[in-house]
Every structure is written in structure tokens, then in C-alpha cells.
């Protein structure tokens, strides 16, 4: 058998076992008691299953806890059959899990949003470093501040979730008893301050303001969503101060 044929056979026997005829394996692989070719191949097949599940569990510990060991192993195998690992870095394997769970919902229906949150946390952990700026950077612009535009740290991600899974995420840290499904949608920001990955929910106005700021709007435009609040100026100031103190802002550019 040519090298390429042999490798094709073994790769399929490991990742798609039903696609390989057992007699082919027996012919290509040496037998040494007590294990024949099929049993030896099976060692690699099992390692493949568990290695991928372990890689997913590292990034989705709460989805794993929610589903239990067997359920998570089943999810990992089903996911790998649709989204096989395509990166030499195994930590990239889980990047489509939330989409997969959206297309194949679990019994609760909020598993995809939990996965979306956990993936954002995992990505923030190793996102590119950036030194945040303080609120002084805005103050230095004086009257031109209304035309200021913001740059944000690369670790910042904003999520729009169909379910508010923040209480579920918090509960699953210590408990196997998940709270009831919360079908209220949620806006969430995920970022990293130093080495610490953080997240919090955003109000509707703040979510809109942050989306505008990230899209390159000026400070004046960023503040518009607070126009309908009881005290627009105070609310906008408080929110912007929070962005600076949380280390979200990487640059402030004048006009």
C-alpha cells in the first residue's frame, strides 16, 4: 500500500470509523498478540475522541458541566463530525461550537448562548495586549472632545444573546443545579484587565453607545442613546467613566 493510501485509511479509521473496511486495517497493520490491527487502531480512535472533548472542555467548562460527562462527549463527537479541527492550534477547535449549538439546540435552548459567552472569555484570555488610556486622554482634548473618536483594547468583545445566561454562568461555577432558563435577551461585554478576564451585562443604552463608539462614531454621537434617560448628561458621563476605569479604551483621537 502506498504511503498516502495507508494514511488515508488510518485517518478515516480514527475520525470516521464506519468508513473503513476492517479487512483493510487488518491487512495494513501488523498483528502482535494480544492486540490485532482493529484493536490497535481503536487505541488511537479513543484518544482522538477524548483529546477533542478535553480541548473543548478547557474552553467550555460550564457547558460541559451543564451537559454532564456523557452528554458533553456526545456533543464533542457530533461537533467534530461537522467542524473537524482545522487549525494546528487545538485551542481554536471550539470556535464554531456556539454556532453548532444554535443549529442543534440542547434541551434547555440556552446552551448556544452559554457557549458564546465562554468562547468570548477564552478568546479574551489570549487576545493581543494593549495599554489602556485613562479619562485624562479625553480631558486633554478640551472643547474638541465632542469630536473625539475611541479605540478599544483588542480583548473587548460585545455579545448580543437571546438568553440572559450570566446567572447560569455564575451558578455553574459551583453547582450542578442550573437556574431556570431566562429568555430575556442580554447584551454582554467581555474584556481583559491585566491577566484577569472580566464580563458584565450592558444596559440597552450602553450597548448602543459602545456599538457606536466601536464603529468609529464621535463622542457626541456616542452619547445620543442616553438622550431618553432621566439625566442624559450624567448617565453618559458615568458610562464613559466606567469604560476608562475598566480599561476598555486604548486610544482617544481628536478631530
Amino acid at each position: 500500500m502506498k504511503l498516502g493510501e495507508l494514511q488515508e485509511m488510518l485517518a478515516r479509521a480514527i475520525s470516521e470509523p464506519d468508513s473503513v473496511r476492517p479487512e483493510l486495517l487488518q491487512a495494513g497493520i501488523s498483528v502482535r498478540a494480544p492486540l490485532d490491527g482493529a484493536a490497535r487502531t481503536n487505541i488511537y480512535r479513543e484518544m482522538y475522541r477524548f483529546r477533542l472533548a478535553d480541548a473543548l472542555r478547557a474552553d467550555f467548562p460550564r457547558v460541559a458541566r451543564l451537559l454532564g460527562d456523557d452528554g458533553f462527549l456526545e456533543l464533542s463527537a457530533a461537533y467534530a463530525s461537522v467542524y473537524p479541527s482545522a487549525s494546528s492550534d487545538i485551542s481554536r477547535f471550539g470556535r464554531h461550537l456556539a454556532d453548532f449549538l444554535s443549529a442543534h439546540p440542547g434541551p434547555r435552548g440556552d446552551e448556544a448562548d452559554l457557549a458564546r459567552l465562554e468562547w468570548a472569555l477564552a478568546e479574551a484570555f489570549t487576545a493581543q495586549d494593549a495599554e489602556p488610556v485613562t479619562q485624562e486622554a479625553l480631558g486633554q482634548l478640551g472643547e474638541a472632545a465632542a469630536e473625539a473618536r475611541f479605540g478599544f483594547v483588542p480583548a473587548l468583545k460585545t455579545l448580543v444573546l437571546e438568553h440572559d445566561v450570566l446567572p447560569l454562568w455564575a451558578e455553574l461555577e459551583t453547582s450542578d443545579e442550573p437556574p431556570a432558563v431566562d429568555k430575556t435577551g442580554a447584551h454582554v461585554a467581555v474584556w481583559r484587565q491585566g491577566f484577569q478576564v472580566l464580563h458584565r451585562s450592558l444596559g440597552v443604552e450602553e450597548a448602543e453607545a459602545l456599538a457606536r463608539a466601536r464603529a468609529g462614531a464621535t463622542l457626541a454621537e456616542v452619547c445620543e442613546p442616553f438622550g431618553l434617560t432621566a439625566d442624559p448628561q450624567r448617565e453618559a458621563f458615568r458610562t464613559l467613566a466606567g469604560w476608562f476605569s475598566s480599561g476598555l479604551v486604548a486610544s482617544v483621537d481628536g478631530p
Partner: protein
């Protein structure tokens, strides 16, 4: 060009569990091995730890996904990331495994064995030369633990490894535990393996623990080095001399003190063998 690497002494792997100690700069070890792929992402704590370590100690980069014998074309993006990492870290050397783990764009994330044939030999040698050109340095290839062999093989594993190193002009990372595990699984003589490896090509040793599954030994890196592997390490030191030695412990990672104890044991074994040679 012969391999010319210094003996760095005794090292350990850079693992998440020990990041705080490494950040504090308080790890009494000669050198450190980092898994290349774990440090591809651009920022965060892993990069900060590696930055702190490389200022203080020699670092070696060890890859797990090169798939040097694989059927797919070499992953140029992977090589680009490796080169960028190497330019930043300036490692003492770089290594990966003599195996394959990709198929039609799919990463199996395993170290799969090759058939030991002339066809495999030519395939691997050509690719090692490409990798060395891209990285601008010689690499070391490590023998893997295996659980199957192919009926088509015409060479022993050690002859295959030795011939790859000569033809491709690369080095060898000799994993003593892997030799023992494969010797038990396939019934060959582990000492014959050592005798078949050219002394001048060996740049590093690995030591690790395995699990006995009854029907086979499984290379698990989750436990102390076993007595038969220490005995084989003694033989390796007798043949190859003082070679940079690393303890691999990747699962159920123990406290740093326990890992350092294992590394010190390796040092004592090496010292004893060298004393007996004087």
C-alpha cells in the same frame, strides 16, 4: 553539517499550573521547554510568562502539530507562526515529532506513526529540509510512542530515525520513555534502539511517565518516570553523554516542587553514570 548543541542541563516544561512561580522568577531549573502552539496567540498571560522566562533562562520550543510525515502539504500558516514565535523567543533550538497528524485539512491532534519505508523516508526528508529553510535553523525530531506498526515497514524505527537525521541533516530529540513504551508494545529491544541512533545527532532527551493498560503501555505524561525508564536513561547517558534532559508531565500536573524533584533525580542519574565513566 553536524549538530552542535550545548548541554543545557536539566529542564522542565512550561505549564499553566506553574505560571505564578515562573512569573515570580523563582524556579530553580536550568532551562525550560515551551509547547510552541500554546504560545501562538498574541497576548495575555501565556506570552507574559514566556517573556519573563526567556529573559532569565534558555528556552526551547517544542511543537506538536508540524505533521512532518503527513499526506497534506506543509501548513504554511503554521510555519509562519512558528517562525514568528522563534524570532521573538530566540530559542536554544526547536523540535517536533517524527510522525503525522493531519489529513485533508483536518488536524487529528495526535502523533501518528509512519510506515518505516524508503517512500516515507524520502517524503519526510524533503519536508524537513523545507521546514529548516523556513525556520532558518536545524530542527530536532522526536521519536513517538506508538500502538501500531505497519506490515509494509522494511526498516526498524531506529534505522528510520537515524537515516532521516542524516539525509535531512537534522537533530534527534530522543524520548527515552517513548522508546520503552514502543519497545513493550511492539516487542523490540530498547537497548538495540539506543545503539542504532548516531551519537552526534542527539540534542535532547525526554523522560515521562506512562500507564500500563494490561494489553499495552500508554504514553500519558501523567505520572513519575518508572524504574525501567530510569534504567534505560542510564544506558542513554552512557551512550550519548550529558544531553539536555527534560521531564514531561502534562496531565495531573503536580506541584512545582514535585516536578523539580523528578528533574533533580534525572540529574543524579546522569551524574552517577558520568562518575562511573571516569
Amino acid at each position: 553539517m553536524a549538530l552542535s548543541l550545548p548541554s543545557l542541563g536539566h529542564g522542565i516544561g512550561l505549564r499553566n499550573e506553574h505560571f505564578p512561580e515562573f512569573l515570580a522568577g523563582s524556579v530553580p531549573v536550568d532551562w525550560v521547554e515551551a509547547i510552541s502552539e500554546n504560545f501562538f496567540p498574541a497576548g495575555g498571560r501565556p506570552r507574559a510568562v514566556l517573556e519573563a522566562v526567556r529573559r532569565d533562562k534558555p528556552v526551547v520550543l517544542h511543537g506538536v502539530s508540524l505533521s512532518i510525515g503527513g499526506p497534506d502539504p506543509l501548513d504554511r500558516e503554521h510555519l509562519k507562526q512558528l517562525r514568528a514565535l522563534a524570532d521573538w523567543v530566540e530559542p536554544a533550538w526547536m523540535s517536533d515529532h517524527l510522525c503525522w497528524g493531519t489529513h485533508q485539512g483536518r488536524y487529528l491532534h495526535d502523533l501518528l506513526p509512519l510506515p518505516f519505508t524508503e517512500e516515507s523516508l524520502q517524503h519526510v526528508v524533503e519536508r524537513v529540509q523545507v521546514v529548516q529553510d523556513v525556520l532558518g535553523r536545524q530542527i530536532l525530531l522526536e521519536n513517538v510512542s506508538s500502538y501500531l506498526t505497519f506490515s509494509d515497514s522494511t526498516l526498524s524505527e531506529w534505522d528510520f530515525l537515524a537515516e532521516v537525521s542524516r539525509r535531512a541533516d537534522c537533530g534527534i530529540l530522543l524520548d527515552v520513555n517513548n522508546i520503552y513504551v514502543s519497545a513493550q508494545n511492539h516487542g523490540f529491544d530498547a537497548e538495540a534502539y539506543l545503539k542504532g541512533i548516531p551519537v552526534e545527532r542527539v540534542g535532547q532527551f525526554h523522560l515521562a511517565g506512562y500507564q500500563d493498560k494490561g494489553t499495552h503501555l500508554l504514553d500519558t505524561h501523567d505520572s513519575p518516570v518508572t524504574d525501567p525508564v530510569w534504567a534505560l536513561y542510564q544506558e542513554a547517558v552512557r551512550r550519548f553523554g550529558a544531553v539536555s534532559t527534560l521531564i514531561e508531565w502534562d496531565e495531573h500536573v503536580p506541584p512545582l516542587a514535585r516536578l523539580l524533584e523528578e528533574s533533580e533525580h534525572a540529574r543524579r542519574v546522569e551524574d552517577a553514570v558520568r562518575r562511573e565513566a571516569r
